[in-house]
């Protein structure tokens, strides 16, 4: 079961919009960390994902395990939130 979802985004990133659009369409809530507004949190996104890219979607489960999805990747996002 999903406890919460955090998405690291930027203002100009179209793939970030797609992750948000998908979750909204499925009625799934999320928190957003906008790296343009919070540039200091880039390090956090990088250390979680190992990648220098957004979106980074962090799905935290009820047992506190985490699944990190880099990019707009439905084949990983769909099973992670179901």
């Amino acid at each position: 079961m999903v406890k919460n979802i955090t998405i690291f985004t930027t203002n100009t990133c179209a793939y970030c919009q797609m992750v948000k659009t998908y979750l909204r369409a499925k009625g799934v809530g999320y928190d957003e960390v906008n790296l343009d507004e919070n540039p200091h949190r880039r390090i956090e996104a990088h250390s979680l994902s190992g990648a220098l890219t957004v979106p980074v979607t962090v799905v935290t489960k009820t047992d506190d395990s985490q699944e990190i999805i880099v990019g707009y990747n439905l084949s990983k996002l769909v099973p992670a939130i179901s």
Partner: protein, 401 residues
């Protein structure tokens, strides 16, 4: 019973459309007669219906007649006549008038046109709504925007406009298209679907250089989306590979983050005059350095990411650039891999061949935008082709093409 089923109707009649769709879905052939275009047929319908031109009026091979039948009544009749099996599973497959593969400027524009005509339209998008246009920072040559328009903003507007008229965008993938005559079967991530017409507008993706290190450092120093990943290079040094409009436009965008950009052009700059003169300002300010005749050889890095790119210059001499990341914009690759077994004809570079109606070699399957052979790879052209394709699809659905 060798005689065909004959459906008398009119193009404006929703019940006629429903009955035809039912027959099409079940691969049952019939003759279609539009009574608006055939006065003798109109008289025949009036004769059958005691003076009323009630449509659809369907005459079966045994001379039995159904007038305005429900799908259930039609199904029962076809089973009685042994034309259809009682447990035909195909009835469970979702059917649409048009399925558009892709939701970039071409498909979204086409959808605006088809949905305004009440043509039931479903779009499939496996990537970003708006396509490559959505990931482009600023689009300066799309008509109607005095100061240009941000790609994401244009994509949002096109999507909103198409959805206002009833277009439905499914976030998923079409894996294959099969021609089944009047109906086309699409294998999708939401199951098999049938469409009376298909528009392929899957566009293209940025090409990769294929040099060592490119795949290894993907998203850890090698990038294809400046608007997504540029923010990670605040005060860092970057290389941009490419010399066309995208490479120059995105280099300019990246200057808002990077301390310096080496623009590595394999031959000579091919960007438009306007972009080149804008580029000069950044060159003069020391933000961008243009290197022409440079061929990338290897992208080198360590556990922390990329730290250099090895190239050869015009004299075949090795030149190394110390950088923190590389952005690649070296041209486009058509998204036609999923058409391999479809029988749709492609050109030598994998773009879809079409005729003057933007129709492929398969009747009822159309293509528009960057994925079409002969396309000019411009967003304005893609939108124009989308509009043309939509009008041709309407003609096709009305049996006029």
């Amino acid at each position: 019973m060798s005689q065909q089923i004959v459906v008398y109707g009119a193009s404006w009649c929703p019940d006629c459309h429903r009955s035809r769709t039912f027959l099409d879905e079940h691969h049952i052939s019939y003759d279609w007669i539009d009574i608006d275009e055939d006065p003798a047929a109109a008289d025949k319908v009036a004769q059958i219906n005691h003076g009323n031109k009630t449509i659809p009026t369907i005459i079966f091979p045994d001379d039995s007649i159904l007038v305005e039948p429900s799908d259930k009544a039609l199904s029962e009749k076809l089973v009685t006549l042994n034309i259809m099996q009682p447990d035909n599973k195909q009835s469970a497959v979702v059917t649409h008038d048009v399925i558009m593969v892709g939701a970039g400027p071409a498909a979204l524009t086409a959808a605006i046109y088809t949905t305004r005509e009440d043509i039931d339209t479903l779009l499939f998008e496996k990537g970003v709504i708006g396509g490559l246009a959505a990931v482009t920072d600023l689009i300066d040559n799309y008509p109607g925007f005095t100061n240009g328009v941000h790609g994401l903003e244009l994509a949002d507007s096109l999507r909103g406009q198409a959805e206002r008229f009833g277009a439905v965008i499914e976030l998923g993938e079409v894996m294959s298209i099969k021609d089944e005559g009047k109906m086309k079967r699409l294998e999708t991530t939401s199951g098999d679907m049938l469409a009376r017409a298909v528009l392929i507008a899957t566009g293209s993706d940025y090409k990769k250089t294929g040099v060592p290190g490119e795949a290894e450092y993907y998203a850890r120093g090698v990038h294809y989306c400046a608007t997504c990943d540029g923010a990670f290079y605040r005060d860092k040094k970057l290389a941009v590979i490419g010399g066309g409009n995208s490479a120059v436009q995105e280099s300019i965008f990246l200057t808002r983050f990077a301390s310096h950009i080496d623009l590595l052009v394999r031959s000579t700059l091919k960007a438009s005059e306007v972009l080149r003169s804008e580029l000069k300002q950044y060159v003069a300010a020391g933000k961008i350095t243009v290197h022409e005749g440079v061929k990338p050889k290897e992208i080198v890095g360590d556990d922390n990411g990329v730290n250099k790119i090895i190239t050869t210059d015009a004299n075949d001499k090795e030149v190394v650039y110390d950088i923190d990341g590389v952005f690649v914009f070296i041209g486009l690759l058509p998204n036609t891999g999923f058409l391999k077994s479809s029988g749709i004809e492609l050109d030598a570079v994998g773009l879809i061949k079409t005729d003057q109606n933007l129709e492929t070699n398969i009747k009822g399957v159309f293509a528009a935008g960057d994925v079409r052979s002969g396309a000019t790879m411009q967003i304005a052209s893609a939108a124009g082709e989308g509009a043309t394709a939509a009008l041709k699809i309407r003609e096709y659905l009305e049996g006029k093409l």
